[in-house]
């Protein structure tokens, strides 16, 4: 009777040992094979990765753009003249001086622009002495590029 029991004991012991080995309790540990990812899972992962990369790139772009837009300016970017500081202070909260510096307008056009900026773009209306100072400065610093008259000595229809 001892032999069969011994045999059963041996078999059980072997199974246990092999089982434990397989389970990685000792011996070389083999990680379980992952399930092969489904195409949908792959696509999702790829999409997430791309979205993250896009977002990072877009954020970086936005930061660089903001840095350009916020480039600090000082009144010295405008030509010297009476009223430069007032003009710089009044005219640069919304935009840089580039829009001003690239313009070459008559005094009347500069004056008209002050109303447009208030009516259409919410600039604090510019009145009285401050308006005179700023418009005079602009008209002096940024006059029309060509001599207003041209070769006929002035537009015959512009009387004021």
């Amino acid at each position: 009777m001892a032999l069969p029991r011994l045999l059963i004991g041996l078999i059980v012991a072997t199974v246990v040992v092999l089982g434990l080995h397989r389970a990685g309790v000792w011996g070389v540990r083999h990680p379980p094979e992952p399930y092969p990812p489904t195409p949908a899972a792959l696509a999702t992962a790829r999409a997430a990765q791309e979205a993250a990369a896009r977002e990072a790139a877009a954020r970086e772009e936005a930061e660089r753009l903001a840095a350009i837009a916020q480039r600090a300016e000082t009144p010295e970017v405008l030509p010297p003249g009476h009223g430069r500081e007032e003009t710089f202070g009044y005219c640069t909260p919304c935009h840089s001086t580039a829009v001003i510096r690239r313009s070459r307008l008559s005094r009347e056009q500069w004056d008209e622009l002050m109303d447009w900026m208030s009516e259409k773009h919410g600039m604090n209306p510019l009145e009285g002495e401050m308006r005179e100072v700023i418009v005079d400065y602009l008209a002096g610093a940024f006059p029309p590029a060509q001599p207003a008259g041209g070769r006929h000595g002035g537009n015959p229809f512009l009387t004021d």
Binding site: H95, Q109, A145, F157
Partner: protein, 431 residues
């Protein structure tokens, strides 16, 4: 190169003399004055006889004391800087040679500040409401699956393109011809969305809204609108891809309108909402002198509130020369020039492009290709011959399918400078 610089130097060091040289003491450029200018330019002017009186030579007219300033934005080519805040930049004509304008060469026009990018573009919502039976609110993700997706090459041009050609100068970005692009846009037709929402009989106009904020921080940057007929056109798109890629942030990501052939301000960037209206829209950028041109021409330089002006619709005929830069110096003995560029005319097509190298005394017809599709620009190519060494101007002029040509001088002056499309001029020096 030394001589080229001397023009600039003359203007910088002694603008009075330069102007006197350019315009002549009593105005007209004749005899001695012209010879003096030839000396200033450092070259003979072979076609001096046919140079129109009072037209400044292109070499002097462009650039002046200081040439253009350039800016290199992230992901962009070297563009001409118009301003940093708001950020505006123009594409030099010689960078517009591609059939399809790549993102890095597309001009930049902002009215306000560029919004921050959104983390989940597909969740971006747009809304169609107003004079419709059932207002439509839809995410960008659903837009692509619910409506037919189309891809077209479409011109997109700033309403103020060409403004720098007006005399006297008008305010605003001083664009040459470079506020133009023809990219490949992918999106759905706006009309499909409007039909899904169902137009009421009162549906006559549109009002467009986007996510960019006004420079003062108060309210929207710009909100323009158009006649419903343009909204129902086949090529008017709600676009979400440019040249097969997501739209760059600076050009209106994740979705924008493309209203080809009409002022670019209608092609709302960072598009959020379209109102259907029974009367013209009144958003910022509508009315007065904004994107409006005189019906009865006004005196250049005069004051006008624009009440009698009309909204600018189809853009005027225009051309660019893309393989020869202004100020190019060519080897002595060069007797022929191979030229090419693009031409377009808003809703119309181009019927001809002509080039003159003798100040318009004679014109040579160029070859013009058919557009890739309606509202795409057209390629022109051709060859002109030069009789000698010396200073030349290459003048180029397109004609639209109604027979209207680019005029010699920018006409119909208006306070904010829309619609200037004169013949363009590039100065070259042979030898």
């Amino acid at each position: 190169m030394r001589r080229e610089r001397s023009i600039q130097e003359l203007y910088r060091d002694d603008p009075e003399r330069a102007d006197a040289l350019a315009w002549g003491r009593r105005g007209a450029l004749k005899g001695g004055a012209l010879a003096a200018m030839g000396a200033a330019l450092g070259a003979a002017i072979p076609f001096a006889g046919s140079m129109p009186r009072g037209l400044l030579p292109a070499a002097l007219a462009q650039g002046g004391a200081q040439g253009p300033q350039y800016i290199e934005l992230p992901g962009k080519a070297r563009l001409i800087l118009q301003g940093e805040r708001p950020l505006n930049a123009e594409t030099p004509e010689t960078l517009l040679d591609d059939e399809v304008t790549p993102a890095e060469k597309m001009f930049v026009r902002n009215n306000g500040s560029v919004p921050d990018p959104v983390p989940e573009p597909r969740a971006w919502k747009i809304r169609i409401d107003g004079e419709v039976n059932a207002p439509l609110e839809i995410t960008l993700g659903d837009l692509e699956s619910r409506f037919e997706v189309v891809t077209r090459r479409l011109q997109m041009e700033c309403g103020g393109n060409g403004r720098a050609f007006f005399v006297p100068q008008t305010r605003g970005n001083q664009w040459g011809n470079g506020a133009i692009s023809c990219a490949e846009w992918t999106g759905v037709r706006l009309r499909d969305l409007l039909q899904a929402a169902g137009l009421k009989p009162g549906a006559k106009f549109t009002g467009h809204h986007g996510a960019d904020r006004h420079l003062s921080g108060d309210g929207p940057a710009i909100s323009r609108g158009m006649r419903i007929e343009k909204a129902m056109e086949e090529d008017t798109l709600v676009a979400f891809r440019m040249n097969g890629a997501p739209i760059p942030q600076i050009h209106g990501a994740p979705v924008r309108l493309i209203v080809p052939g009409w002022p670019g301000s209608l092609s709302q960037k960072w598009f959020t909402r379209l109102e259907v209206l029974d009367k013209p829209h009144t958003g910022r950028g509508m009315g007065g002198t904004s994107y409006r041109i005189p019906v009865v021409p006004i005196v250049p330089g005069s004051r006008n509130d624009g009440a009698d002006f009309a909204d600018m619709e189809s853009m005027p005929v225009r051309s660019v020369l893309t393989n020869l830069a202004h100020g190019t110096r060519l080897p002595a003995g060069t007797r022929a020039l191979d030229l090419r560029g693009h031409a377009w005319a808003g809703d119309k097509e181009i019927s001809a492009v002509h080039v003159s190298v003798d100040y318009g005394a004679t014109w040579q017809a160029m070859e013009v290709k058919a557009p890739a599709n309606r509202h795409a620009w057209q390629r022109w190519t051709g060859r002109v011959s030069l009789p000698s060494d010396g200073y030349f101007e290459v003048w180029y002029r397109a004609t639209d399918s109604d027979g209207r040509m680019q005029p010699h001088v920018a006409g119909n002056w208006n306070p904010q400078g829309y619609g200037a499309n004169p013949v363009s001029r590039v100065a070259i020096l042979v030898g």
